[in-house]
Amino acid sequence: MYRMIVAACVMLMANAFVCAQDKAELGKPAPQFTLNDSSGKAVSLSDFSGKVVVLEWVNPQCPFVQRHYQTGTMKTLADKYNGKVVWLAVNTTSSATPADNAAWISQYALPYPILSDTGGTVAKAYGAKTTPHMFIIDQQGKLAYRGGIDDDPQGNKADRTNYVEKALDQLLAGQTVTQPETRSYGCSVKYK
């Protein structure tokens, strides 16, 4: 069976492959992938084994994403956990080019890469539906969180809970994530 599963890990595109049988499930090994960053460098989930990894679905044209970048939500979090957590943004927008991603990185001086998933393979494996849509993979490579960045879709709450921050604090303290699944919100992922 295992060999069959390995055999099912096919190259789907020149710049993206993912094990075809993978479907993200909480507490189960997160789907493996390799995607190119905006400079064309291949980045694999397996490069970061043993580390906590955050996946952030991004689309610079989405107003929800724009709001979180204008207010610094993502960058502040990535900076807070710098050295302890690997942050990878993924752009599945079918029309997005690596140059678009590079422009967004330079506009906001991002400390993390934006990986190109225009074929949507990785987004489908994780079940990404919105931008932003957040996933956290724990030190054992298992999916520990999926859902929204916070509990404030309209962006007007004075007292909001950042689910990702809460989950990361718990994971880094060796605790279980008490709220591993929330409703994500935002624009739809612009699949092909």
Partner: protein, 269 residues
């Protein structure tokens, strides 16, 4: 179209070259026109107010449960002291599916979101009703919008009859409770935990649809319509507190060309 896409990308690059460009988030044109209307008649005990939203062709805005993505349209009322307002009444939405099996619920072209206002007894002077409306308009991209609306209501005056008619038309599209005597269908609900089977009978329904608004902390696993039977399976998100609010299934159908919709409350058992 290709030209337009390149133009947008070019715009994006120009904006990216400079400092953060808030103008990018603005609509190039007004995608949604919002107006506040009423059906007030002199001496009425209560009256309807409606937010009339006219949407640019091919764009849509969202229902109270937007689906997998999007954002619910919201209306925040401000009324004179002593006036009361009902919960917002949402006409039956349409469902749309985007690439990647992303399910959305909302409205195209136009909609009127309604509420019933009960004025202060003995109300004698003109009063102002205000509504702060927010929406997300989406086509291939999304643009958020908002409007602050005002409507002066005069106890001695009457609303434009055309407004009253428009509000009545949209009120007729608001689902009625399944236990209402006006519901022509017999509705039977069987609940096992978060697994619900709803069976309609006594009607000659066509085009049966189920539009589902899960309560907070729940997501949809299955929503299947077969004939007059609906099978719904919800999933409690791990770690979330069970909501006191029930989920809501709006079952819509047509009979002899006439649209019907009933609302079924789904609690946990």
């Amino acid at each position: 179209m290709k030209f337009l896409v390149s133009f947008v990308v070019l715009l994006g690059l120009c904006a990216a070259a400079g400092a953060p460009a808030p103008a990018r988030a603005q609509a190039p044109r007004n995608l949604v026109k919002a107006e506040l209307k009423s059906d007030l008649r002199p001496g009425a005990q209560s009256f309807l107010v409606g937010v009339h939203l006219q949407i640019e062709p091919s764009w849509h805005i969202y229902w109270k449960y937007p689906g997998d993505a999007g954002m619910a349209t919201s209306v925040k009322w401000k009324l004179p002291d002593g006036f009361a307002v009902s919960e917002l009444m949402w006409p039956t939405p349409i469902g749309f599916e985007q690439a990647g099996q992303i399910q959305g619920f909302g409205y195209e072209d136009e909609v009127v979101l309604l509420a019933r206002v009960t004025p202060l007894p003995g109300w004698a002077k003109p009063a102002m009703i205000e509504a702060e409306v927010r929406w997300l308009a989406c086509e291939t991209t999304c643009v958020p919008g908002k409007a602050s609306l005002q409507l002066q209501v005069d106890p001695a005056g009457a609303a434009d009859p055309a407004d009253g008619e428009l509000l009545a038309q949209w009120l007729a599209r608001v689902p009625i409770p399944a236990d209402s005597p006006e519901n022509p269908a017999k509705v039977r609900v069987t609940t096992m935990g978060l697994d619900y089977r709803i069976e309609l009978s006594g009607i000659g329904a066509e085009h049966v649809q189920c539009l589902l608004a899960p309560a907070d902390g729940l997501s949809i696993v299955n929503n299947e319509v077969a004939g007059l039977k609906v099978h719904i399976v919800l999933h409690a998100m791990e770690g979330s507190k069970p909501s006191n609010q029930p989920s809501e299934a709006v079952i819509a159908w047509t009979e002899s060309g006439k649209p019907h919709a009933v609302s079924v409350q789904l609690g946990r058992q």
